[in-house]
């Protein structure tokens, strides 16, 4: 049976990219513990609208943990205190009555704030455009079963490919590095015969773009993997490093 709790919120409000932001305090009562965290923010926004105030702007879309749009920094953790969930799948039962919850946007140089809790993550798209693909056109490809792929390899590629591009890894990293994001794609495609052909070129191009866009360096602290809602493993970073070094060595 669902319970309700009363909570206090400290929410980052910032009118525009260049405006000076600040925390605002709100109180919210009778929050059902079966609600998701974003449904709690919906309630806050309904309350603000009723008071003729501007609601809090935040990114969200699928609300089932897969689109990677939601991006809240809750009590010092990307996607909050629960493990292996995005913000939209965090539920209020993880908080207790009377608790103060601090909500911030992703804090990372490469993800500037647009408004309130919404940030600009186009940098991730740009890294993908630098080489996160196999260069095949539509049509003229071989039969899907023409190249067998060992199940453990296919499974590992799938694990890497489960990255949702939310940005929690870079937001969690003290250096603001996007290594786990880049590694997930490089690793997925390097593991598969279809992606192997361009593996070296891809690793170099994606890492160069990441550096160019202002992401920091990886110092193997592992915060990214610990906070990743999809449990993308650090071993992919090792594979990226291997691909990258081999590619550089050949140059």
């Amino acid at each position: 049976m669902s319970k309700s709790i009363n909570i206090k919120l400290r929410v980052w409000r910032q009118a525009s990219p260049k405006a000076k932001g600040a925390f605002e305090n709100y109180e919210l009562n009778n929050v059902p513990t079966d609600s998701s965290f974003l449904e709690m923010i919906d309630m806050l926004n309904e309350q603000l609208i009723a008071e003729r105030k501007e609601p809090v702007t935040f990114d969200h879309d699928c609300r089932e943990g897969i689109c990677g749009m939601c991006s809240l920094y809750i009590n010092g953790h990307p996607h909050g205190p629960d493990q292996e969930v995005t913000t939209c799948q965090l539920h209020m039962r993880k908080f207790h009555d009377g608790e103060t919850i601090t909500i911030e946007p992703w804090r990372s140089r490469a993800f500037p704030v647009i408004k309130d809790l919404m940030v600009d993550r186009q940098a991730y798209d740009k890294i993908m455009q630098a080489g996160g693909y196999v260069s095949v056109n539509t049509g003229g490809v071989p039969d899907a079963n023409a190249i067998p792929i060992a199940k453990p390899i296919a499974d590992e590629a799938m694990d890497a490919a489960s990255c949702i591009g939310c940005g929690a890894c870079a937001a969690a990293c003290k250096n603001g590095s996007a290594m786990l994001f880049v590694a997930a794609k490089v690793s997925q495609l390097a593991l598969l015969p279809q992606g192997k052909i361009e593996a070296a070129k891809r690793a170099k191009a994606m890492v160069a773009k990441m550096d160019e866009l202002g992401f920091g360096n990886c110092t193997n602290t592992g915060a990214c993997a610990a906070e990743c809602p999809k449990s993308v493993s650090l071993t992919h970073i090792a594979r990226l490093n291997r691909e990258y070094l081999c590619a550089k060595f050949k140059d």
Binding site: M40, K115, Y133, D143
Partner: protein, 650 residues
């Protein structure tokens, strides 16, 4: 109702299996030098939009792509879980292009166009090849070959999958192809943009008006052709499995410019969603249909057991096997738990209405993996469905390995949509609709794992051909200035609409009105409809529309990032769609697929079609804000299949 007119659609000559080949052999093409001079606007970056934009860019067209999210990778196709169908027959279990075609036509309750559906089945195999070449990590057998699973409405295993994240992997494949074209400059990407209108010049689509959601600025874009790939309108119901921003606005905009809206009443209620938890619920989460491969659906046999469970006095695990009613297996021995979605949803509703529902609301049934775990072991079940079980546990806070899942039907997909011809062109020249946004391939009910197939078929393998047949005549048309009077006129209308919305300054939030619409849709235009319920819905929707335009409150400014204004613009259009759905449902005096009229059922409670009267596509033509639309009827003829009462019992 206004006068009705019948028409037929031209499909290529020949036997079913030859039609698409004949079309491709005789269509007009555009040469490479001319492709560069032609601009194509593609709105939406889901499976259909992203695959179309990437493929058209590869061909050499100049593509402008638009999405409302911050990245094209986030379109709601990403959330499709279970799989994608193809007629590969890798399992040697009797599958073929014809059988996939037949299952799809039958599954759609004989309300789709034969030639379109056959083409879909025909290109399905190319899709799997394409995705594997892109590096999509489909599930594989130990021998290294691709694995398949079964889905509802089929007796073969033809569904390819990537864990429970097939939509994600297919979309990321299309997104990577799109990213490659963006880097080459053949596609110009516009993220956080929302289309507000189509611009029609001399009867042809020539561009769009879109709002930059970051700045609130209204911008104009020219295209020699415009492609709508904006998905379905399930969010009319407020609570659905769609993403929060999924909307039907592009469809309504082009409908108001003359594109027909086809079969709006065909909406799919998905049988396996997580039940509603309470008032603050913002969306519903689907549990993949693939779970019905190994999960068994049941409710208690005895009413007193159901009552005790609802009161919290009994647990589902307390009910002995003999006291469980596996109602799908009981009613449909041949297909069992794998009957099509509409059949499974109605059967759940029937049991709950009869007082056998569980959960404290009585609006849920069980999906039980106890038997699968006994048969296969927990490790195998975990390997197949682990991520879905984890998702369920995070949301409901119960462990589905130990206690059965609770599920209930929810609005999921809309088979209706913008009317298109065989070339996927709408009734406005140069305006195309692909993927869920069009009405074309699923008839009155879509089979599981067929949405991904249709989205990618349209985007990779159909539109890139058919759009050239149109554009071949357009190579002499210069790029038209966005200062042309038609652009300025459309802009003026939008400014007027937005100013009106902003000036109401009433007392109701957008969501509060949307929730009210959703309740009316669910109660009166939901799983079971009657003449009376639909008439009630029409009156209620009119009243909600009036309330919206008189009493909505939108804070903030129009020329700034403003989420409430975005939602209000979408709700204005959902109100139009809700009305159309009810009107169409009222007109269609039969039951077929997802449209169930209680007056028309067999003695066993199955959908009863009226082929003599309703073997047509309902095409609604806009006639103005103050009058009902005109109904045109595209005649559906079945040359190659014999229409039967659907039977999943034997």
């Amino acid at each position: 109702m206004s006068d009705t007119k019948k028409f037929t659609t031209i499909v290529p000559e020949g036997q079913l299996a030859d039609k698409w080949s004949n079309y491709k052999a005789h269509q007009k093409l555009v040469n490479p030098a001319n492709k560069r001079r032609l601009d194509i606007i593609v709105v939406g970056t889901g499976l259909a939009g992203a695959s179309a934009a990437a493929s058209l860019g590869e061909l050499g067209f100049n593509v402008l792509s638009f999405c409302i999210q911050d990245s094209p990778r986030r379109a709601h196709s990403i959330a499709a879980q279970g799989g994608i169908n193809a007629a590969k027959n890798y399992q040697n279990d009797g599958d073929s292009v014809y059988r996939l075609f037949y299952d799809t036509i039958k599954g759609g309750d004989y309300r789709a166009r034969e030639a379109n559906v056959y083409r879909l089945a025909e290109v399905s195999n190319n899709i799997i090849d394409q995705c594997v070449a892109q590096g999509v990590p489909f599930a594989r057998e130990y021998g290294g070959l691709l694995d398949n699973r079964s889905f509802g409405g089929a007796q073969v295993s033809r569904t390819f999958y990537a864990k429970g994240q097939t939509g994600q992997q297919l979309l990321l494949g299309a997104y990577s192809a799109l990213s490659r074209q963006i880097s080459k400059g053949s596609v110009k990407m516009h993220t956080r943009y929302e289309m507000l209108d189509v611009v029609v010049i001399e009867g042809r689509a020539r561009g769009i008006i879109a709002r930059n959601l970051r700045t609130g600025k209204i911008e104009r874009f020219f295209g020699h052709a415009v492609v709508i790939a904006t998905g379905g309108y399930g969010n009319t119901f407020f609570l659905s499995t769609n993403a929060m921003a999924s909307n039907g606005s592009a469809a309504v905009q082009i409908y108001k410019k003359g594109a027909y809206f086809a079969n709006p009443c065909y909406a799919q209620i998905h049988p396996t969603c997580i039940p509603v938890h309470g008032e603050s619920q913002s969306k519903l989460t689907l549990m993949s249909e693939s779970l019905r491969n190994d999960g068994r659906i049941w409710v208690p046999k005895k009413k007193e057991d159901a009552e005790a469970i609802r009161a919290g006095k009994l647990k589902p695990t307390d009910i002995a096997d003999d006291d469980r009613d596996f109602y799908l297996e009981r009613r449909y021995p041949a297909f069992g738990n794998l009957v099509p979605r509409d059949v499974a949803s109605r059967a759940a509703k029937e049991r709950c209405d009869a007082g056998f529902g569980v959960n404290n609301t009585g609006l849920a049934v069980y999906l039980d993996f106890k038997y699968a775990i006994e048969r296969l072991g927990e490790a195998t079940v975990k390997a197949r469905y682990g991520n879905l079980f984890q998702m369920y546990e995070k949301i409901v806070d119960e462990n589905p390995y130990k206690t059965p899942m609770m599920i209930f039907p929810a609005i999921h997909y809309t088979m209706g949509g913008i009317w298109v011809d065989y070339e996927l062109q709408t009734s406005i020249k140069g305006l195309f609709a692909i993927g869920e946004a069009n009405f074309s391939d699923h008839g009155a009910n879509r089979l599981g794992a067929s949405a991904l197939m249709q989205g990618l078929a349209d985007g990779y393998f159909v539109l890139p051909y058919t759009i050239q047949n149109y554009l071949a005549d357009q190579i002499q048309v210069p790029r038209i200035s966005t200062d042309a009077p038609e652009f300025l006129e459309a802009l003026k209308d939008i400014d007027k609409k937005i100013n009106k919305l902003m000036s109401i300054q009433g007392k109701r939030s957008v969501d509060s009105i949307h929730k009210e619409l959703g309740i009316v849709m669910w109660d009166f235009v939901g799983m079971a409809r009657t003449e009376e319920s639909l008439k009630t819905a029409i009156e209620k929707i009119k009243a909600i529309k009036k309330e919206f335009w008189a009493n909505v409150y939108i804070p903030g400014k129009a020329d700034d990032l403003n989420g409430e204004l975005e939602k209000a613009l979408r709700l204005a259009d959902f109100l139009e769609i809700g009305y159309l759905m009810a009107l169409d449902g009222l007109n269609r005096e039969e039951s077929c697929g997802g449209h169930f009229r209680e007056e028309y059922q067999t003695p066993d409670g199955e959908a009863l079609r009226q082929d003599d009267k309703f073997s047509y596509v309902s095409c609604w033509k806009y006639t103005g804000d103050d009058s009902d639309p005109e109904l045109l009827k595209e005649d559906l003829t079945y040359e190659f299949t014999e229409r039967k009462q659907r039977n999943y019992k034997e």
